[in-house]
């Protein structure tokens, strides 16, 4: 049990990255009842945005905060634009179509992004620029906290704080919540639902952009299929917390990250990915609405 603290730190760090991605799934689901399969590929594109930004600006060897901010901004902006375009071009024309059609469109967009990635960037993995040093900053008897863990946790917490203020303290945040509860009535109040839906995609994608840079720093490998597994797990985390529920997504993601690290630590890393799906199946059986989700009858 002496490694527990170490696994806990690793799990928290992993979980906070899942949270950033899970929020995008849950926000879009909350407003459109759509599982945006392309979200994980937006995440991948974010990683490429910052990879290429670093190359063009020659940031590879310049370590430090300014470089980190540049990477973060290029990924956030790239993802935000991509998320906006996906909704505008692929989902909006299907606004009144059956849900299944939109779901199929989402799978299509996901594949499109993956194959575009493969043909434009190539299949071979690229090395993400490590612009921040990963040095031990805190050493206990049985654990070490690395600087990147602190960056991941700090950036995630800050992002969640900003998101929280935006959703609960601003006019547009109130409109987002109103549209997700009743789009028609919100439009009677003067809210343009299309605007709010665009904003939701932009915001959710930007969060994935933050996530992709944090992952890039921790596991510096960029390739066109990198979004698949992490996207799947983030999605499961969102379902675990109760899809459509923001705090649920964060809770689910942290639980997911923690249990994954514990499995790696105490069982075997072979079961790492199996765990995610095990959790999904268990949730679907015992608590279909998720930990913090409202049951279907309550959501009018």
């Amino acid at each position: 049990m002496q490694d527990f603290a170490q696994h806990f730190i690793n799990g928290l760090s992993l979980g906070s990255i899942y949270a950033l991605i899970a929020l995008g799934y849950t926000m879009v689901y909350g407003i459109l009842q759509l599982i945006n399969f392309a979200h994980s590929d937006v995440y991948m594109m974010g990683a490429f945005c910052s990879y290429y930004a670093a190359r063009f600006l020659n940031l590879n060897d310049s370590q430090g905060l300014p470089s980190f901010v540049v990477l973060l901004m290029s990924s956030i902006i790239g993802c935000a634009i991509l998320g906006f375009l996906i909704e505008r071009l692929a989902y909006r024309p299907l606004r009144n179509a059956p849900k299944l059609n939109v779901l199929i469109a989402a799978i299509g967009v996901s594949l499109l992004l993956q194959y575009t990635g493969q043909s434009v960037f190539g299949d071979d993995p690229k090395v993400f620029p490590t612009v921040l040093p990963n040095v031990p900053v805190l050493e206990g008897s049985s654990f070490t906290v690395h600087s990147l863990d602190l960056v991941v946790l700090g950036v995630t917490l800050l992002t969640l704080l900003v998101l929280n203020l935006l959703i609960f303290r601003t006019r547009i945040g109130m409109a987002m919540r109103a549209v997700s509860q009743n789009m028609r009535v919100a439009s009677l109040m003067g809210v343009n639902p299309n605007r709010i839906i665009s904003a939701t995609f932009i915001l959710g994608s930007a969060l994935a952009g933050v996530g992709s840079v944090l992952v890039g720093l921790k596991y510096p490998k960029v390739e066109p299929l990198m979004g698949t597994m992490i996207g799947m797990k983030a999605f499961i985390a969102a379902v675990l917390g109760g899809i459509g529920n923001l705090s649920g997504a964060v809770l689910g993601a942290v639980l997911m990250g923690l249990s994954e690290e514990m499995v790696v630590g105490y069982l075997s890393s072979t079961y790492r990915d199996a765990l995610a799906f095990g959790i999904l199946i268990a949730v679907l059986i015992f608590k279909p609405a998720g930990l913090l989700g409202r049951s279907a009858t309550e959501k009018v």
Binding site: R177, A178, Q181, R184, V185, L188, G190
Partner: protein
């Protein structure tokens, strides 16, 4: 406002609505004058809610709809409230996960005059003191009557010229119904024109200047509220006497 209630605010000509193959509104023509309370009565499924939905642009329709002399069709749904056309929808439609206060704020979403909004909110709380006590509570946890009060307050926050009310008395105790109608009168005296949809025909006719009777998508009768109260056909079909 001192109006003679003869200037048309809303003019509807040959309005028709289809839900797929269902011909719900079969060409109705009516007018609501500035300063009036006009009610639209009719049995279940007559098309009252459908008419209001068409006016707000929530469903496609054909025919002419003119509001303040402007063609409503040229104004997208979400901009109609800003032009002075507010609706309190059937079944209240409060946002259950927003607080009472946020629901009221949503009513003023189309407005920018912050100071005036605050004083209008205060006015709503005076109209419905219950809402003030519950302002931090989620709207979904209010009772049906409280939700109705909230829905009306929310619509008033838009400072509409024309207020569309869909069954404001539905499911309320008689005492509350009387209170709601009293408030409708008060709001009207302040210059807000009202188009009222009601099942409670007796109450609606008593409170309205004029009324239209809708039957399976057609207007079959129209007249002054108190005249219709005396009308044999209305008494038999809608007042149960």
């Amino acid at each position: 406002m001192g109006t003679d209630r003869s200037t048309p605010l809303l003019q509807v000509n040959d309005l028709q609505v289809y839900y797929g193959a269902i011909y719900a509104i079969r060409g109705i023509t009516f007018v609501v004058n500035e300063g009036e309370i006009v009610s639209l009565i009719g049995a279940n499924g007559a098309g009252k809610t459908t008419t209001l939905r068409a006016l707000s642009g929530l469903i496609p329709s054909t025919g002419k709809m003119e509001f303040c002399g402007k063609d409503l069709r040229k104004i997208p749904t979400h901009q109609r409230v800003g032009r002075g056309l507010a609706q309190s929808p059937e079944g209240r439609g409060v946002f259950p996960g927003l607080t009472v206060r946020e629901n009221i704020e949503m009513g003023a979403y189309c407005r920018r005059d912050v100071a005036q909004i605050a004083s209008d909110m205060e006015e709503c709380y005076q109209l419905f003191p219950k809402l003030r006590d519950r302002r931090a509570q989620l709207a979904g946890t209010l009772s049906g009557g409280e939700q109705q009060m909230l829905a009306i307050s929310r619509a008033l926050m838009a400072k509409p010229r024309l207020l569309l009310l869909d069954e404001p008395s539905l499911g309320l105790a008689p005492l509350i119904v009387a209170q709601i109608f009293e408030i409708i009168q008060r709001v009207n005296k302040k210059g807000v024109t009202i188009l009222l949809v009601e099942q409670n025909a007796r109450m609606a006719l008593k409170q309205s200047h004029r009324a239209y009777v809708l039957e399976t998508g057609r207007i079959v009768l129209e007249g002054m509220g108190h005249d219709l109260l005396e009308n044999d056909q209305v008494r038999r079909s809608y007042l149960g006497v």
